[in-house]
């Protein structure tokens, strides 16, 4: 059983290939707004290193934001197209949720930073979202004690948690933008 995890929501592209519950190959690459040039070549190299063909993948996990609009869109497009063409299950996790599931906590507000502001989401002990995701500009944001920003992602925990989520139709997989754009205001 092979699981592909894809995260392109920030300037760091992360692709992890699991065999059963263990990490088989993991690649992290910093890009300077070059997601398009780098993401698919990294995916290709991950498969090559694992010596598997793309059609051997059994399921897809994708971080669907919030984060860089273009970055997230790219990862989500790749992930949903893989799931649709290979006819395999796909599950989405937010950039805040993968932080929350990586450590033990009681109620906690996770902070995900971007250039001009922060995305916030509050989770309970079981990593259920208790307060909707929202965005604050840097000028509106004040760091509070129960907030956590820096988390080392534990990908094996992310995989275990993802199995508790419902898989969704590839057509319905979409980015989580959270931040409003000018014309929506």
């Amino acid at each position: 059983m092979y699981t592909l995890f894809l995260d392109t929501h920030s300037d760091k592209i992360i692709i992890v290939l699991f065999k059963e519950k263990n990490i088989l190959v993991k690649k992290e690459v910093e890009t300077q707004h070059n997601h398009s040039i780098t993401t698919m070549p990294i995916l290709e190299s991950v498969l090559k290193e694992a010596k598997i063909e793309v059609e051997e993948l059994d399921q897809i996990l994708v971080v669907n934001g919030p984060g860089s609009f273009t970055g997230v869109r790219l990862g989500v497009t790749i992930a949903k197209t893989l799931a649709f063409t290979l006819n395999i299950p796909i599950r989405t996790l937010s950039s805040l949720l993968i932080k929350a599931v990586s450590f033990e906590h009681d109620d906690v507000t996770i902070v995900e930073r971007e250039k001009n502001g922060v995305f916030l989401g509050t989770f309970n002990k079981k990593n259920e979202l208790v307060k909707e995701y929202h965005y604050l500009a840097n000028s509106e944001f004040q760091n509070e004690e129960q907030m956590v920003e820096k988390v080392v992602i534990d990908y094996e925990k992310v995989l275990i948690f993802a199995q508790s989520l419902e898989s969704i139709s590839p057509h319905a997989v979409n980015p989580l933008y959270v931040k409003k754009i000018e014309v929506q205001k």
Partner: protein, 336 residues
Amino acid sequence: MKDVYILAIESSCDETSIAIVKNGNTVESFTVLTQMDTHANFGGVVPEIASRMHTENITMVLEETLQKSSIRIEEIDAIAVTYAPGLLGSLLVGIEFAKVLSLVYKKPLIAVNHTIGHIYANALENKLTFPLLALVVSGGHTDLILMEEDYNFKILGSTMDDAIGECFDKVARILGLKYPGGPNVEKLAKIGEPTYALPKPVNDSSYNFSFSGLKSHIINLVHNESQRGNEIRKADLACSFQVTAVNELTRKVEIALKNENVSQLIVAGGVAASGYLREEIKKVADKYQVPLSIPSMKYCTDNAAMIGAAAYPLFLQGKYADFSLNAKSNASIVSE
């Protein structure tokens, strides 16, 4: 020779389109999902919203295209995608989607220039006969191009400022018409007469075009009349503008037909959907007895079938792209 099937993807602006094209000239299956109604709410295409809608819809557009096709995706010979020019965010969705299809089905990836796609839209209904003269007219282009053979483009002349489609859109805005501007100007012009005397854009014998002077003249005219409290006869102004702008196109085409050795005249790009332009160009082609090709309406606006047609010569030459392919907002056709 075995038939060649290319699955083509177009997402450079506000249409998500996928087509399967046989041998660069026959459309097997074809889907276009337009976002026009959404963008009409904002008075024009909002790039971020366009990109979002491509991501939302692209796998469904593929599913529909495959359902309509007698060809299975495994039988496809190559995957083609528009990589430039256009809105970066929109192009990227199509490009990454195409790369995944290329990876999963192990088919070569072909990067196609959107403008060249418009030219090759003509190959879907007529055989291209070289040397040909192409008039490319769209929101981003006003070019007269001479082609000696496939993918050989010699630009005789271009616009020095606004593209013709851009000019139609701006005049539409001045006249208070809704998006999309071009078709609405034409609709209004139908009930008007060319009674306004407008300056000829570039009254010379070069192949270049200029439309900003015409546009400025109309802005000033509307402004001055409203200052004086005079009503603008909108339909007459739309008609006068259309006649003057299109006349400039046909005049330059006529000079080229006189001077160059041309076996076929083709028109390409979104503005080729203009009924008035089609009539006027036909008159010129008839006068010089040059066979004329203008794509039918569905292949004038942005569509993937034309991308499949333009990819075919590249497939025959083995010009493939790799997975580092990136989108470009601008790209000259001469370097292709």
